[in-house]
Symmetry: C2
Subunit: 413 residues, 2 copies
């Protein structure tokens, strides 16, 4: 499963090319603002190459370092945890407003902050979320082309392959990333074009159906998820306000839309553990009434789960529902990644918290009050949470209440 | 000359402590904005530790990467070279205005851009200088506490020790950095306090003299450098506008003041090669008339030197004159560092270009026009340039034209 250096370098280069040409779509005349973990330097450098090759003016890499993050929690004074680097996030927002594209390499240690004071973690996250909001709003409404891609860092690889020696774990995780990102095919760019066409066919079919709701049934699950009136299904390539067609996630397998924040009822059992801020929440079982979670259990991490549900008025309601076939390449790998970019593309899922207004007709132009009235949820958080598997069926509920199958045992009907 | 790991780690930690406690002076309640080469990660992490320990709220490290800089020159389109990341420099200026301290780790490859198109290098530098100006102005007028410290990177170490294997070169360069930064003494913090006291005694003596000019004589050199009326000598610790006492350079051996931009006459021969933007300029000999260089020669890099002198009206005039004893610890190392932070603290020097207005009484409050009228030079550049050695004498010229010795053969009289 490990690869000789030449092959690895070639595949890494292909991943970088996919990140730029498929993920960002085009960068000619644009700055590129990249964030990356220090362990992702080789990928960041190859992405820099492909961005300049595609005509980027300046590529800036902002590196994050788990060691200095831990140093803060170990050493900083208490007042630190209500602060954030507003100047840096404002600077990123200014870059986006002046036309920069945004690329994020992710590969964090999923349990980096597991041993830290949860109150400090929550305060630091809240301060960061508030400071990052202006930049995030530009990304969330697709003002610019943006993408997220993963790098196999040692800490992440150890979590996915706890029984393997580190070097082998890293190599195995790279193999999984390359495969899921369609880098191992003879023509990755054409492979992505084909994949985007298939996702567009699927969203086209679902958009014609105009279902009132989706119903999930399976072991421990009988859940009806009402959809917003005028909801639109999205998936694969999208178009940013700057006119550039891009893929926000590399890889991506989901089609998704906006559930109605007050029309979710029934109970559901998670099909994978959820890694949230370094805490593993296992065997989640919750019950919804009128859109809100009214009962929540977990075999571990139940306290953290309850805290999440209390963050704000929207954090116990749904902001996304997404369908992913159980036979998706990431799912077939059989791996649990503890990384949302991967796990959410391995199973149908719902997300607690903030909704995408763009997947409701006219949603982007509504005031916040109009969005709530239309059923579009609002929250500081957006946490994807896997409820699909090879044992889960999905039905579409028509406006007249009649029902038809959408997925059987995790496969499209 | 190499050190076992434990000793190296302990000395690196001491250097980090000196950078924070002596360099920045105090950081309680401040953000710290750090820039560092990727090869300086271990030092950046230790500095982060000491900054948090001293009460910093958030430490942000902006890493630079020689590889991506070269990638830009190798691959980017022509339009790239007139662009700069204004959003990032504006963000840094915003951080300084909101009270952040500034720490720079330097250790660049002195000849990184030697093989690149000089026109592109000049354009990129000009764009960067213009974008960085608001942040630099805050640093130049000491609005905040700031400091520069060095890390021994492989590329720099290879330049200083071209005949040694890389690992040994890096270890030797670290030894030189630790020694020059007073890290190897039993109590570095007290050692710095004592050194700052000695520099204050020296500036006190020179300030009482109120010389009209300094005269440098030695092999190839007979130069009179007129000083501004109301000039002040500075050196070692200074006080920022935010009230914090800090040391802008670790190490520092110089005392310096502001020459009069129109009162420099005679000829001078450089005593060390000058590394400018990756070009080595050797055996510089120039002649001044009325403050301006009217004749310039070099045995190599003469074209680049001439280009520097033509950058703007102030780039062929002096902005700084500094005295450093030939017996300074850095000078005694016998090494040529190709790094201004080190070489300028090994020999008396002059600087082409921008002057420090603060070393003239009332200079900081003058308009740009008033500064020029007072003889305070202005330019986009500031290039320190070594003219002292064990063979150079310095005399002080009193207001009445009489003369007294200041240094003999590079030593204080
Ligand atoms: Zn999703
Ligand atoms: Zn989501
Ligand atoms: Zn100097
Ligand atoms: Zn200088």
């Amino acid at each position: 499963m490990t690869n000789d250096n030449r092959t690895f370098e070639a595949r890494l280069d292909k991943l970088a090319e996919v990140a730029v040409r498929v993920g960002l779509g085009a960068v000619k005349g644009q700055e590129v603002v990249m964030t990356a973990p220090l362990d992702a330097v080789p990928l960041a450098r190859r992405i820099t190459h492909h961005a300049y090759k595609a005509g980027a003016t300046i590529v800036t890499i902002l590196y994050t370092d788990d060691a200095t993050t831990l140093e803060r929690f170990a050493t900083a004074s208490d007042e630190s945890f209500d602060k954030a680097t507003a100047w840096l996030y404002d600077g990123m927002a200014a870059a986006f407003r002046s036309g920069a594209a945004r690329l994020a390499i992710v590969g964090e240690n999923p349990s980096l902050l597991a041993g830290q004071d949860p109150a400090k973690v929550a305060r630091a996250n809240r301060a960061r979320s508030a400071a990052y909001r202006p930049a995030l709003d530009l990304i969330a409404r697709s003002a610019i082309n943006w993408t997220i891609v993963s790098a196999a860092t040692p800490a992440w690889a150890r979590t996915v392959f706890p029984d393997l020696p580190e070097a082998e774990a890293v190599a195995r995780l790279w193999d999984a990333i390359f495969a899921a990102s369609r880098v191992d095919t003879p023509d990755p760019i054409e492979g992505w074009a084909e994949h985007n066409r298939a996702l567009a066919v699927r969203t086209g079919i679902l958009n014609e159906k105009r279902y009132a709701a989706l119903r999930f049934t399976g072991p421990g699950t009988d859940l009806e998820v009402g959809l917003c009136d005028g909801h639109r299904w999205a998936g694969g390539a999208g178009k940013a306000e700057n006119g550039i067609t891009y893929n926000a996630n590399i890889p991506t397998e989901e089609v998704f839309t906006t559930p109605h924040r007050a029309r979710v009822n029934g109970h559901v059992a998670a099909t994978k553990p959820l890694s949230y801020q370094g805490t593993l929440i296992q065997d989640i079982r919750v019950r919804f009434e009128g859109g809100a979670i009214v009962e929540a259990h977990a075999s571990s991490g139940e306290d953290v789960l309850r805290k999440v549900l209390e963050i704000d008025e929207g954090s116990c309601r749904l902001g996304e529902v997404a369908l992913v076939p159980h036979a998706s390449p990431i799912s077939l790998s059989g791996l649990l990644f503890f990384n949302t970019l991967y796990d959410e593309n391995a199973a149908s899922h719902i997300a607690l918290g903030q909704a995408y207004a763009k997947t409701v007709e006219g949603g982007g132009e509504m005031t916040p009050e109009q969005q709530i009235a239309a059923g579009i949820n609002s929250s500081l958080i957006h946490i994807d949470w896997m409820i699909g598997s090879g044992e889960v069926d999905v039905d579409g509920v028509r406006q007249d209440g009649s029902v038809e199958p959408v997925m059987r045992k995790g496969a499209w009907v």
